[in-house]
């Protein structure tokens, strides 16, 4: 087993690795195989860390730099796992002027992570967005499908606690 495979095993189950191998096998040797492999791997592994990108590069016989270039170019791919809940804080103009920035800072403090990161227990991923089209409700925080309007900093903890 290569160093990478030991790394992969730290993060994924043997079943997921079997699945990854199947995905690679399906597209190997076909021109333009990289993007479909990455897409299917993203769907079944949920994120594409370094170890997975290295394995894909090696098995498709492509430069690692190219794999990394593609993964970072398309927003569909992520290198870190997503949490069970995605918290999106709106920083569009309307929400921003009504204190959106303070809300996003409070959420960061509450969860102990920065924008784009996931909590170590994989419960929450934090993102910011620009205008949801619900400006009248600003500042707006969305957790998965739930829209929370007129959020105050003091209410952030209460909102998040609904998702434990």
């Amino acid at each position: 087993m290569t160093m990478d495979e030991t790394e992969i095993l730290k993060e994924f189950s043997p079943e997921q690795i079997v699945k990854l191998n199947e995905i690679i096998k399906k597209h190997k040797g076909k021109p333009g195989g990289l993007i479909p492999v990455l897409e299917e791997a993203q769907v079944s592994l949920e994120y594409l860390p370094m170890s997975v990108q290295k394995k894909i590069a090696r098995e498709l016989n492509l430069p690692l730099s190219r794999v990394y270039g593609v993964v970072t170019f398309y927003s569909f791919f992520t290198m870190t796992p997503r949490g069970k809940y995605t918290v999106r804080v709106c920083l569009g103009t309307a929400c921003y002027v009504r204190g959106g920035k303070a809300i996003s800072e409070t959420v960061e403090k509450e969860l102990g992570i920065n924008e784009g990161e996931t909590t170590p227990d994989r419960m929450f991923t934090l993102e910011t967005i620009r205008c949801l089209g619900a400006c009248g409700l600003g500042p707006v925080v969305v957790v998965n499908e739930d829209v929370h309007g007129r959020v105050k900093s003091s209410k952030v903890r209460e909102i998040l606690s609904q998702y434990k």
Binding site: D4, M50, Q53, K54, P63, S65, Y68, M79
Partner: protein, 586 residues
């Protein structure tokens, strides 16, 4: 060949089918500014838009570098609309660029500056981007510095690294305003598989990629009265240094180079060509030994450190094919602090050994931990041709009008065989001359082995060497070409006895430390200068005729491949592989 007729700026132009507007315009001397296009390696991403032209019947402006011509096409390259649009493009580029021309390594030789001048830019109406102080400049490599702030995203470096060198270190990554050229996972260069060849530096139109500058360290050594500072210059320097002083490419400036080094304060001016001759004796004997004793064949030359690192990463299973000979630079270093120290009675700890190289990978090589067989760092500092040019300017020396001077004895003497090391095929030619003489006791019927010369990517030849019979050899330059030979060896299909591989396309005369621009036309001229030195200037053309090398063996080394040679002149390699270090979520 079928052609296309079109009109550019009211002039009739006829070019071959498939040519771009840019090519058509150039063919009649109409200039169009370019930045991202690098036609010599077919890199035309059409990204920068400074080459815009107007084509009748087409909506919007057309990028000349990618748009193919067609019959009857009418092109305008200098309308008001075109000129305004080009200005705007350059203005936007400059607004997002550090305002550092005065102290930028490319000041005066920067394509962005030239394009700004071309389009007649007089002001930048936008706010300049403020760049963070930290994190934008990668100083991790001993050879190459990357300054992302100055990058204009032309991807010429990516193209040369991937298509010509097939190392594929660099990639465009991220999206939107965060787009950046980086190694995989944004790792520092030192942690990537970068082989330090510096071809990306030659590709870069601006100061976003450049050599790690060691000029100040050398000035410091020269100022130190307790140090005895000696210098060696690679063959390729003398064929290119003049370009740093606006002399025409191909000027052979050996005498001026030596004079300049003396004026800078070096105590002794020696020559890497001396150890190039020595390399031929050691390597020639190693080849004969392998042939006689059934050692690993084909044997491959080992003087190009970028090539060595490439082999260590990508062909670790074939390292036994590499000659164990150190490169001439490192042979020189090991002898400087042993043989020369003994001869001159100077304590090796007081000797500072400097080398002037066409190559950024030589900086890396000099730092390899095993390169200390004298008991000290064998080579202390490596400067590229460009750095030496800057030093000579800083030293106030009127290079062009210097008199010719001669090297110092004993490590300055060399033959024409040593000189041609700097061009692709040169090591092979030099080795064959000596191997032939050693085996047959006679000189080759003609010392010019022309099939190994020139810019063809892979060259092959067969030479009759007396009782050895037909010796089949091959030469490759540029790592994409090297791969072709290495894959053949891996498949067991290479029936050569000896292979020369040079990392850089054209050999050392086009190394990553050579003057900018370096292109095929200039490669040919610089090589011609070396062949002129070999054919017309040097009286001796065979390494085994070098008297100082003979004396070195008599007095010090005793015999080729002997005990002392093994200790000082030979080395071993490291299986590096292609794995980059594993960091979580880098």
């Amino acid at each position: 060949m079928s052609t296309v007729k079109l009109t550019i700026d009211n002039r009739q132009v006829e070019v071959k089918v498939g040519a771009t507007i840019l090519e058509a315009a150039r063919s009649v001397g109409i200039k169009i500014p370019t930045l991202c296009a690098w036609t010599e390696i077919n890199h035309t991403p059409g990204a920068c838009r400074v080459c815009m032209t107007e084509v009748e019947g087409q909506r919007g402006l057309i990028a000349a570098c990618v748009f193919p011509v067609s019959d009857g096409m009418v092109v305008h390259t200098n309308t008001e609309k075109v000129r305004m649009a080009r200005k705007m493009v350059v203005e936007l580029l400059l607004a997002n660029h550090p305002q550092e021309c005065n102290y930028c390594v490319r000041n005066g030789n920067c394509e962005l500056q030239k394009v700004a001048e071309f389009v007649g830019l007089k002001e930048v109406r936008f706010d300049y981007t403020q760049f963070p102080k930290e994190g934008m400049i990668d100083h991790s490599s001993p050879s190459i510095v990357r300054d992302s702030r100055k990058c204009i995203e032309c991807h010429r470096c990516v193209a040369v690294c991937e298509q010509i060198q097939t190392v594929s270190v660099l990639t465009p990554a991220h999206r939107g305003s965060k787009v950046k050229v980086v190694p995989a996972f944004d790792l520092p260069l030192i942690e990537s598989n970068c082989i330090a060849c510096g071809q990306c530096i030659l590709a870069c139109p601006v100061g976003a990629l450049y050599e790690k500058d060691d000029v100040d360290l050398v000035w410091k050594a020269l100022q130190d009265p307790t140090k005895h500072v000696i210098v060696q210059e690679a063959p390729a320097i003398r064929a290119a240094l003049g370009e740093e002083f606006d002399m025409p490419p191909g000027s052979l400036v050996t005498g001026k180079m030596i004079a300049a080094l003396r004026r800078l304060g070096f105590d002794k001016v020696f020559d890497t060509n001396f150890t190039a001759d020595l390399t031929i004796i050691e390597e020639g004997n190693e080849l004969l030994k392998r042939v006689k004793e059934g050692g690993t064949l084909p044997m491959i030359t080992s003087c190009s450190p970028g090539w060595i690192k490439f082999c260590e990463h990508f062909y670790p299973d074939l390292l036994d094919h590499l000659s164990t000979c150190k490169s001439p630079q490192q042979m020189f270093g090991a002898l400087a602090k042993t043989y020369y120290a003994e001869l001159s009675g100077i304590d090796p700890k007081d000797i500072v050994s400097v080398s002037i190289m066409p190559c950024t990978a030589k900086k890396f090589e000099a730092q390899r931990p095993e390169m200390n067989s004298s008991g000290f760092r064998d080579v202390d500092y490596v400067l590229t041709t460009r750095e030496l040019g800057r030093m000579i300017k800083e030293g106030g020396i009127d290079f062009v009008n210097l008199p010719d001077e001669d090297y110092d004895a004993p490590m300055g003497e060399y033959t024409g065989a040593g000189t041609i090391f700097g061009a692709t095929g040169g090591v092979m030619e030099a080795a064959l001359r000596t191997v032939y003489a050693v085996v047959t006791g006679k000189d080759l019927p003609s010392l010019d082995i022309t099939p190994v010369r020139g810019l063809e990517g892979v060259k092959e030849a067969t030479v009759k060497v007396g009782p050895l019979g037909d010796v089949k050899i091959a030469v490759a330059h540029g790592l994409g070409n090297a791969r072709k030979l290495m894959d053949k060896i891996r498949e067991g299909k290479a029936d050569y006895a000896f292979i020369e591989i040079m990392c850089c396309p054209g050999g050392c005369i086009a190394g990553g430390g050579e003057p900018i621009p370096t292109n095929n036309e200039i490669r040919v001229l610089r090589s011609a200068a070396l062949y002129k030195d070999d054919g017309k200037v040097q009286k001796k053309r065979q390494s085994h005729e070098n008297e100082s090398v003979k004396k070195l063996y008599d007095k010090f080394l005793k015999e080729p491949l002997g005990h002392k040679s093994h200790q000082l002149l030979h080395t071993h390699y490291e299986k590096r592989g292609t794995e980059v270090p594993h960091k979580k979520n880098a």
